[in-house]
Structures are given as structure tokens and as C-alpha cells.
Symmetry: C2
Subunit: 349 residues, 2 copies
């Protein structure tokens, strides 16, 4: 769900990509993103591509050919990180959990100390399963072996605390169409000073030009040297989405998501649905009750759409037919929507 | 300049990236782009990045490590192609002309037959100089040595005929914010069946995932298999921009640009300004009269902005301080704008 104010902002007349007004907007976006990520990183910006572009920028800039990348996997987007790491000709080691679970602190620490990777990647909010991995143990162990950490925050940004600096995450990226309540089109990204040092010292050739973060830093924060023509209308949208978050308050926004997530989960359990993800590992934005035995998930989803115009997703990959995936995020995370969904789902099942 | 209808379209509610409606819109865009490019290529689509993303997609997919890329250079964007080719670890050979000139047919043919490159790249409309290179001789010679051709059509698409198939161009890309009169945000791209065959047979590893055209073909035209979340609002905008072109008629649109370009050029010459580019090599969308001796281009540009709110660009690189760069494209290519600009420029000089 996109707020009307965001649509209105997007329809404002464009200005040039080197116009001072663009850099003012960009500055507001950067300051806002710092708050939502929970970071003081000066290198915080929005990349001119969708969320997967943020993933590609993170992997291509920090995972060098021949280096070792350790990925904590347990869902579709972790698999994508593995794929991108392989494309960089890195040695990719994966630690797998069944979809719906996440690595324990002990497992994470053991794997990192054993493998001594150059970079560790994990998914902070796994859209395919509803699992959240805050990453404290991962980041602590990674620092011990001097590895950088990359966190996929596509579904968690703006819907739950990331506390980037306190957690010790070096690189994180997201999208605009989930917790930021904008249309898709940009990828917020942030890098720690430690990550930037590593980037500036990188010796191996960088094949990407579009996602070259050194050049992007020069455009957005350094000399404002022309790199590419930024999609200005999407920047208008993101600025407005961030303004809405600031008006609500970042903490209040997180609390709203938490409250509505709790109400929704309680409702699922009250109607006898079992949750895929253990309580401690659940995201606040995306929920995965199991499909009850004898129920066809496609039938249920069709009834929800036909009778209530409510769109929910099914499971896929390891979870095909086994779970519903129900988003409740950004503008959409409202008590009224919780009631609506629970009533409709009870009827449909 | 963006038409009000395009802004309105962009503010329409988003749908999911796997929604049938998205693929309907996408189909309209593809059909429209085919007409504007002048091609029957089934592989014609818009990439979720700005124009430079289209350049990166073209180079990374078709210029393999260790292969030979020949670039006809004579401006800023040709230099960018050289840079991207080097990043792919290709052997890059460049044939340079001074900025403002283009390669002759004989020079192009000689260089291609001598170098026998795997890929030949040229800029169909060079935004930094105002030069157009239609590419007939380049494509003919390239076919003789079995090389693919890549054409940068960032400023020419929608402003003058490209006649892609008749010319024999294999791969071409553009942007949305120039001749298509939309905000920036997507990169139209088209590939010939011959180019696609080469791509499908490619043996060397592809580092990019975001710009992997094999995967994008699967998403947009094949199985509709989820790749990334397309920036749907930009697709709405491009569909509307294309609808405006179809209503005017592609040929009528090109004729309008040609007529207004001729009037503008005649006006420059009437006030004693010399054109940088020989008449036969001029684009219809961007014009580069020389700055007269004793005139400071910054002063002139400031007067135009302060007194008439008209923004024109200066030269850069080899042409810094030597030319004005005056865009007259898309919605902006109007007789009234020609008169306005000529009057204001006469006063300012």
C-alpha cells in the first residue's frame, strides 16, 4: 500500500539530476534512512534500481573474486545471495537451515570461526519464510575473523528495528515498496566506515559500472560528479515516504507493526492455525501460518480475492502449498486490516 | 519536459510485479518500442534502471572477457562504453574522432575489417556533442566479420529514425527521459535474434545478475518467472509516453523534430552562430552552436535562466566553453520553443 501523499509527490515536475534541489532531496532521504536503519553511517543512500539491485551492489562491491563468502541460508533470498556470490567467482560456503528456521547463535559463531570468510551474508527479514535474523552473534563472530557482514533488509526496513550500528552490520540494503510504503524503484543502502575502507583498498577489478559504489559515493556525496541520471520521481516518492515515517516517529512505527503483528498472530492461533516460525524468530511485517491439513491454499487465496479483494501469497520453494504468506507492513499495518483479514480467512478456511 | 498525462499515469495505484495487468502494460510498451526503434525484434523491453543501466546490460551480456570490442569514439558516452568494455576485461580498441565529428564510412569499414572485433559499439546520438551516427557502414562491415553491433540511442530514440532492422543494428538501448518524454527510470533495450543466439551460446560466466538478459527474457516474455520487482510506476509512465507517441504517429513525431531542428539551426546561423557539427551529421534533438569569440558561455546561460527560465547546457570535456548544448526533444520540440530560445539567445549574446 502506497500513501496518497507519495503518489502526489511522485507526480511533481522533474528537475535535473545535477540540480541543487535534487541534492537537497537526496540529503533528506539519507538522513531519514539513517534513522530507519539505525545508523550514523555517512555512506547511506538510495541506489537507482530495485531491491535486487541493492543486493547486487552489495555483493559485487564487497565480495571479490577468489574471496570466501559465507551465507546463512534458509529461504529464497539467501539463495539469491549465494547465486550472486558465485557469479563474482567467490568461494561460497553456505550454512543451511530448513525454510522457516534461522541459525542459532552457537551455530553461527561456530561456522564463522571455522570458515574464516572474508564476507558473511544473511537475510535480516526473509520474505519467503517470515523469519527474522537480527544478526548479533553473526556480526560479533564476523568481527573476530575480520569479516564484513551484509544484511538483506528488504522486508525489515521500516517495519522493525534493525539497529545497524549496535548490531554491527557493515552493509545493508532494502527496497522502497515494502516497509517504506513507496512504489518499487530504488534500493536504500548503507555501508559502515569499515566497509568503505575495505572498498577503497580493493585491488581486484570491479566489473560493474552501474553499481560501482565508489563512483556512486562521488556522485551523491562527494564532488556531485555526474554518474548516471537518477530517477528523480522515485526520489520524490521516497522523500515523501520518509516524511510520513518521521511524522509518525520511527519508534512509534515499529511499535505499530509489533502490536498489529501480535494481534494477527494471536488471531491465527485462536482459529487453530499453527505458525511456521517460532515466536522469537518472527518478522513483524510478514506472517506465515501453516495451511491446515485438508485445506487447499489456492482455494483459500481465491476466496479471499473474490469475496474480499484481499491478496495474500502462498508459499513457494520448500514451502509450496504449506504456508500462507501474509504481509502487514507500512501503511497496511493497521488494526482494521488485522480484523478484516482474520474474519475473511476464518470464513475462507 | 514530461507531459501532464505521463505524470497522471505515474500516480496510478501500483499492482504486483506478477500481476497479469503488469504484463499487459509491458506488452504495450514492447510493441510501442518496436515501432520507435524500427524493429521487429521480439526481444524488446524496458530494463529496471536508467539509460546507463541499458549500456551496462548491453556491454556485460555481449562483450565477453578476452573478446575484442571496437568502439567508435568522439564523445563522453562513447568513452563510457570503452570504460565498461575494459571492466569486462575485453580487449578494447578505439577509433577516435575529435568531439563534434563522426567516423566516415570508409574509416569505419577499414577499421572493422582490420581489427575483426567480436563486438562493435557506437553512439547513435552523442549527447555530449550533438553528433548522430546512423551506422549503416558500421553494421555492414560488422556483419562481414561476424561482429555484433551495439548502438547507444539514449538521445535519438523517439526523436529521429533509428531504423534498427534496416540498418542492421543488433543491440540498442535508450532512456525514458529524453525522446520518450517520461521521467528517468527505465532503459528501453532491443536485441536482434542473431544477438540472442550469441547470448544463449555464451560460454563465459556472467557476473551480473541484475542485468542478466537471459533471466530478464524469462521474466518478461518467457515463463514470467519472478526475477526482480519491476518499478511499476515507471512502466505506467512509459506506457503513457508511448501512447502519446502513437497518437501523434511515429513518422509525424520524427518529422516534427526534423522541422524544428531545421528552424532552430537556421535561426542560429541567421544570428551568426556557427554549428559545431556538419549538417549531415546532426541530431534532431540536441544542437551545438559554437560560443562566439569573446562571449562567455556561463554568462549567456545565466542570462537565459534569470531572464527567461530557459536552461541550456554548456560543453564539457573537449568542448568545455566552446559550445552551447541545446535540447529540443520530445514534448519540448515545438515551434514556439524555437522562437522563444532564439529570441532569448539573441538578447543574451
Amino acid at each position: 500500500m502506497v500513501a496518497p501523499r507519495v503518489y502526489e509527490a511522485m507526480a511533481k515536475p522533474v528537475v535535473g539530476h545535477l540540480d541543487p534541489f535534487f541534492f537537497e532531496i537526496n540529503q533528506e532521504i539519507r538522513t531519514g534512512l539513517q534513522q530507519v536503519f539505525g545508523t550514523a553511517n555517512p555512506f547511506t543512500m538510495a541506489i537507482s534500481a530495485t531491491g535486487s539491485g541493492g543486493m547486487e551492489a552489495s555483493i559485487t562491491n564487497f565480495v571479490e573474486p577468489g574471496s570466501k563468502l559465507l551465507v546463512f541460508a534458509g529461504g529464497f533470498f539467501a539463495d539469491r545471495m549465494v547465486e550472486m556470490g558465485k557469479r563474482q567467482e567467490a568461494e561460497v560456503v553456505r550454512v543451511d537451515k530448513p525454510w522457516g528456521q534461522t541459525v542459532t547463535d552457537a551455530e553461527a559463531t561456530e561456522a564463522i570461526l571455522r570458515e574464516k570468510p572474508h564476507v558473511v551474508a544473511f537475510v535480516h527479514g526473509e520474505t519467503s519464510t517470515g523469519v527474522s535474523t537480527p544478526g548479533h552473534a553473526i556480526c560479533k563472530a564476523a568481527k573476530e575473523v575480520d569479516a564484513l557482514t551484509i544484511a538483506d533488509c528488504v522486508t525489515s526496513l521500516g517495519t522493525m528495528p534493525i539497529n545497524l550500528d549496535a548490531t554491527g552490520i557493515d552493509i545493508a540494503y532494502s527496497c522502497t515498496q515494502k516497509g517504506m510504503s513507496c512504489p518499487p524503484g530504488l534500493s536504500p543502502i548503507t555501508c559502515s566506515p569499515r566497509a568503505l575502507e575495505r572498498l577503497m583498498a580493493r585491488k581486484s577489478a570491479q566489473r560493474t559500472w552501474y553499481f560501482d559504489l565508489k563512483m556512486l559515493a562521488d556522485y551523491y556525496e562527494g564532488s556531485r560528479r555526474y554518474h548516471h541520471t537518477a530517477p528523480i520521481s522515485m526520489f520524490y516518492a521516497l522523500r515523501e515516504g520518509i516524511a510520513l515515517i518521521m511524522e509518525e516517529g520511527v519508534e512509534a512505527r515499529f511499535a505499530r507493526h509489533k502490536t498489529n503483528a501480535a494481534a494477527l498472530t494471536a488471531g491465527f492461533e485462536a482459529m487453530g492455525l499453527e505458525m511456521l516460525v517460532p515466536a522469537a524468530d518472527r518478522m513483524w511485517a510478514l506472517h506465515t501460518p501453516k495451511v491446515p491439513a485438508g485445506v487447499n491454499d489456492l482455494d483459500v487465496r481465491k476466496k479471499l480475492m473474490d469475496n474480499h479483494s484481499i491478496e495474500i501469497q502462498g508459499g513457494f520453494g520448500q514451502l509450496a502449498g504449506q504456508v500462507f504468506r501474509i504481509g502487514l507492513m507500512g501503511e497496511g499495518s493497521q488494526a482494521a486490516n488485522v480484523d478484516l483479514l482474520l474474519g475473511a480467512l476464518r470464513e475462507a478456511i
